[in-house]
Symmetry: C2
Amino acid sequence: MSGDGEARAKPASIRDVARLASVSYQTVSRVLNDHPSIRDDTRQRVLAAIQTLDYRPNQAARALASSRPNVLGILSATVGEYGTTSSIVAIEQVARERGFSISTLNLPDASPEAIGEAVRQFEHEQVAGIIVLAPQVRVFNVIGGLGVRVPVATLHTGAGGTAETIASDQRLGAGLAVQHLVTLGHQDILHIAGPQDWIEAESRMHGYLDAMFEADLSTLPPIRGDWTADFGHFAGRELAGRRDFTAIFAANDLMAIGLMHGFRDAGVRVPEDICVIGFDDIPVAAHMWPTLSTVRVDFAELGRRAVAHLLAAIQQQPAPQFDLLSPELIVRQSTSAPATRR
Amino acid sequence: MSGDGEARAKPASIRDVARLASVSYQTVSRVLNDHPSIRDDTRQRVLAAIQTLDYRPNQAARALASSRPNVLGILSATVGEYGTTSSIVAIEQVARERGFSISTLNLPDASPEAIGEAVRQFEHEQVAGIIVLAPQVRVFNVIGGLGVRVPVATLHTGAGGTAETIASDQRLGAGLAVQHLVTLGHQDILHIAGPQDWIEAESRMHGYLDAMFEADLSTLPPIRGDWTADFGHFAGRELAGRRDFTAIFAANDLMAIGLMHGFRDAGVRVPEDICVIGFDDIPVAAHMWPTLSTVRVDFAELGRRAVAHLLAAIQQQPAPQFDLLSPELIVRQSTSAPATRR
DNA sequence: TACACTGATGTGAACGTACACATTCGAGTT
DNA sequence: AACTCGAATGTGTACGTTCACATCAGTGTA
């Protein structure tokens, strides 16, 4: 394979740099850590030596010697969901820019034991902080009760507690969706919520309830789903027989897509008979039939903010203040004015 | 919050375990590393002590002392795609079971410079090996020419080279799709391929060409797409005017979904006028209208195998031999016999 | 001139583990 | 009984970095 001339020897250490710059290794260490008391020409000399040797600090040794590690843990329970994935990608990128690496840990189930074990694992891996993407109420409680010693930041809105919480305004988003339906003339709006334990499910549901209340409309009891398109499909077929609503606000796009499928199976037309709006704006939403109205959330920005918060906490600095991230209403074909004949 | 009585002191070290088990720290180290020469009762005593103290080896120290690090790097360029994500989740889980953590690195673009820098970064992080999920031909070449010192495993089929390659039989999968269409009676089948540089795009396209050849059918020049539903949508509208094919095999589900959207816009019916089959079986495929026929690939298993391969290479053991992973044909509504009237 | 004080640098540990080399012990061989 | 051998365990040291402390010059103050 494409011979690479120079057989690279073992990487340069801090002492090699020190020797080349004619200073002690400790001085090099100070330069690396931005110690104030370093004469400027000394710093320049050290930096030049670093450059020459292509020296990069050994993270393992650094983590071992200091108690200030350089890995962020990402704890997620929502595997493969669009929003989660988008956030993780963004987190990883910005964390890397700030000199941290990422260790991800996916929970197949979010049982308290599993969460506890995961946090233990992270602590043991000496992570600097943990970003939690498992937005279940229970996770908060477990983590809160665990006496975690490292900073924790959680994505998504809800439960305050000790953890830094990065929110997008899911309630506002839900409100946008409902107001859109109301503006179109709908009065009987059903909500398909996410699982009971989920913070996002709760806040989207509250957004629905609030918006309905403000519009002076009576609400129907929400239906509990599990976020999946398969559930939506099932629910759609079940609900097709009901005539007490003209529009549905689903807590996420997948369920909305499944719903439309179920309605189709049952001969209910969207949007003519029933309107459907989702939440998330996953990439295929624009290509459904009918194309799916939804609420877009900037998951990547959410992730970036989580990192900013977490790093501030790690460095004992005041948390940066962000405005709540405003979701955006995306109107497509699946919502229209209610049919008059019904 | 929620007082947790015992203020946990610093975690137990190997010496604490040794003291409790009345052995030397070295003996504990041997137990941890499965050294053969350990009396069984000694081993039991040590294991009991480990249990009691909830001891877990400090990975940083371990990585520092040995040159045998315990982190696997995942290099990916295909952000947020379903298959990639599924594989990564599986990789992460099985790697963790085998005592490795995962460091992910997502490339916004797959330029040679970016790839080189990423590999450097991983080497510098002392990763034990790298799993590459950026299945572009170019990536192989860059990595091959880089003289990477750590083992590399790449997912997906194609380009042999020095890297361990974990393949699912994409050609076979593509063949399944085409044969399905042929069996239904189609003769003029168009292929929407992935981007030119992508290994998977190439092998799916070759699968298409091979299957057409075997069926003694003439092929149409494939159309190059970019994997996205948006492209599919565009292509669908363009192709709606053509009458020289009765079925389309799209290289992935997203493009297939976009295609159906485009056809819908143009008044072409699926499957009555044109049949569409995709590849991947993403979760929403079953809920399209019409539901999308496709080829299912076990991405998770693919990821697990990549880890097995990589760990074998790391431990200088012979690579485990797997049969090629066989994709599965999933027949749904978007494919049917061609209309006779056309 | 002696004194404390600050800025810049150097020295000796320590972090928790693995590796190379002792050491001990018992069994088998001569 | 002395000897070899291997299995089981213990002792030093190194990995590359940071931390606590020591040093040493220079500066201002009494």
